[in-house]
Chain length 273, copies 3
């Protein structure tokens, strides 16, 4: 079933508007091309409405936000919302600075986000910043492990219900929930954290999956997580002696380029809770 979400991307070549950071933007573009999508980048407020109108979905990533790109995110987001496009928010560094936290919370409040994807720390920040029941949300542990899993699943479901967005928390174990169901995914490798931008790449990829699978956003989001994680496993198999994080980065994108729906269905490791 997750494989069908990937096949749908390849069949429809979804065009994704990315307002994303300049650190990992090239990889985001190449990952979108690798999975069968098509990327456009634009972060000038006067430009973004036209560009987003041409696309099928919008990927907002605050990794190197500035006043101009913040304004662009709001303008593009309103346009995308008016057009019914899926919108993904990647709140990079929420919790690390007031500007990042406030920007992410403000985007969350103003836009009908389809997915919020981040690590546990970023998602906790948003849950606290946007909620009234702070104590409860803050109770979740700082890493999703087998031990903290039940608690983390409850947290992600609660926050999904409250935020009316699909919440995707990625880490050693990944969680993707729409408030009712929760995908628990166990693909990937720890070495992916030694490459810059695997999270940003996943956000771009996931937006393409959302565009190509409008009737099943939860499955689409989970399929994107599984695709990235499985690519991390398959790419690792190509690591030769002497290779490191720079080669691994290439192998992962290559693995996405070569992945079929069938490969994904065979390799995806997940359960529904």
């Amino acid at each position: 079933m997750l494989g069908a979400c990937l096949d749908a991307v390849r069949a429809s070549v979804p065009l994704v508007h990315n307002i994303t950071n300049y650190v990992t933007v090239n990889d985001v573009a190449n990952v979108l091309l690798a999975c069968g999508g098509s990327p456009i980048m634009s972060d000038e407020p006067e430009d973004v409405e036209d560009i987003t109108a041409l696309c099928g979905g919008l990927n907002l990533n605050i990794g190197t936000l500035n006043q101009r790109s913040i304004e662009a995110m709001h303008r593009a987001g309103k346009k995308a919302a008016a057009l019914g496009h899926p919108i993904l928010l990647d709140p990079v560094g929420a919790g690390a600075s007031a500007l990042r936290t406030n920007t992410a919370v403000s985007l969350m409040q103003e836009l009908p986000l389809t997915v919020i994807r981040g690590n546990i720390s970023e998602i906790k920040t948003l849950a606290l910043g946007s909620g009234t029941t702070k104590g409860v949300d803050a109770d979740v542990a700082d890493a999703v492990t087998e031990e903290t899993l039940p608690q983390a699943i409850q947290f992600v479901k609660d926050f999904a219900q409250r935020s009316k967005a699909i919440i995707a928390i990625t880490g050693a174990i990944d969680l993707v929930s729409d408030g009712t169901q929760c995908y628990v995914l166990r693909n990937g490798r720890p070495e992916m954290g030694r490459i810059t931008g695997t999270g940003c790449q996943l956000s771009g990829l996931m937006t393409a999956f959302l565009v190509a699978n409008p009737d099943r956003p939860l499955e689409a989001a989970a399929a994107a997580v599984a695709t990235m994680g499985l690519a991390g496993e398959l790419g690792w198999l190509h690591m030769a002696k002497g290779e490191g994080n720079a080669s691994y980065r290439t192998h992962i994108i290559d693995a996405i380029y070569n992945m079929t729906g069938e490969t994904l269905d065979k390799g995806a490791s997940y359960e529904l809770r």
Copy 2:
């Protein structure tokens, strides 16, 4: 003859000022180094005149334009024009937004461009936006194929004459014309479209070729197109099992690094029409 244009780049190490998008800028820099040139990037209006004065040519790419970089393009362009430097415009996304179209048209009107390089859709947008005989220009098909070739050659010659720039349209078949002659080039592979920025890379490369070959800009532009296309073919020969667009990107730049004028002359596939 095209090979001599590449040899001239390696012999003279042309310094190229790039005001280009942040998606593919690293590849543009590495391609310029691969071909024997030297890249400088600067897009701050207060900085660009000094920088362009040090360089031999100017590469303007509007892929992630913003108000600051638009001003920088105009200022750098005027300085480059005053110094007699070749100026290349890559109108990324012209036609996709009003700001991109207007910026490209405005740069075309204000600056004595040496080359405008884009895909057929971007070039058609500029031809329409800048002309009075819209009906004629708009008649050209949306892809250059063997069937539409005669019509496309006429279009590119007409627009080159009218714009007083060399026009380079890249796609499955590439056309480069100064209004009188038209190079028809058939190197390259379709998989190059699955890598972000091969067009941007070509624009950087072409600017270096223009700087190093001041007396033969048409040949220089055609030689750059052939170099990129041939690198796409040679790079493909290095693709191993399991590799995808990320590895292909590396192989292409490597192929440019290792290309000699002799290799280019042997591998270039073109005719003059």
Copy 3:
């Protein structure tokens, strides 16, 4: 001893705030991850104080400076200074434009820089721009060779004393001095100059080394230079037929990823003068 500086990086995972150019920023991030550090990028004035406060050190690189990032560098720098964090300045292009020269000089005057790292031309520009004894400084040759070495060592020692910063001049022979001692390092390969950003990568790397080795900044800076140079040598050993600068870039980062303190101690080629 240099190896111990690398081991300290891997043991402490220093978080480095980078305000750097968008050309090579991805490589800077991956090099920081490769050496065992952790990168954060932020160049919005409203964001940088919070971000720098989370980090252990600050890497300022003016490669694609603009008015916003210049302001961000000053604000981040003052915060880092107040917190006692090491600050590195990479004055990319100082001497190439008035804005770059003035920005670098101004940062040098306002901030208690730990290290200034650049090529001989950039460092000479700063020495002239900041000093009163111009004639003396200007006497140094434009390249550090075995012939000009004694003179260059005197220059770098003088400027280090005068600027109260460690000065690192990188080129065919690298010099790192605190005004009293001078490391003369001879690792590296000339082909590293055919990759964009090896200097920027070194600046990121060096900042991590400074953070992880607070009690021995001179050794830390020299160790970073040796790490980068040795990675250039080890990476070159992995070059296969047909590979060029794009592959070499990957091999170098991979070599850093796999380097141990022991490897560094065995491979580092230097003397103290």
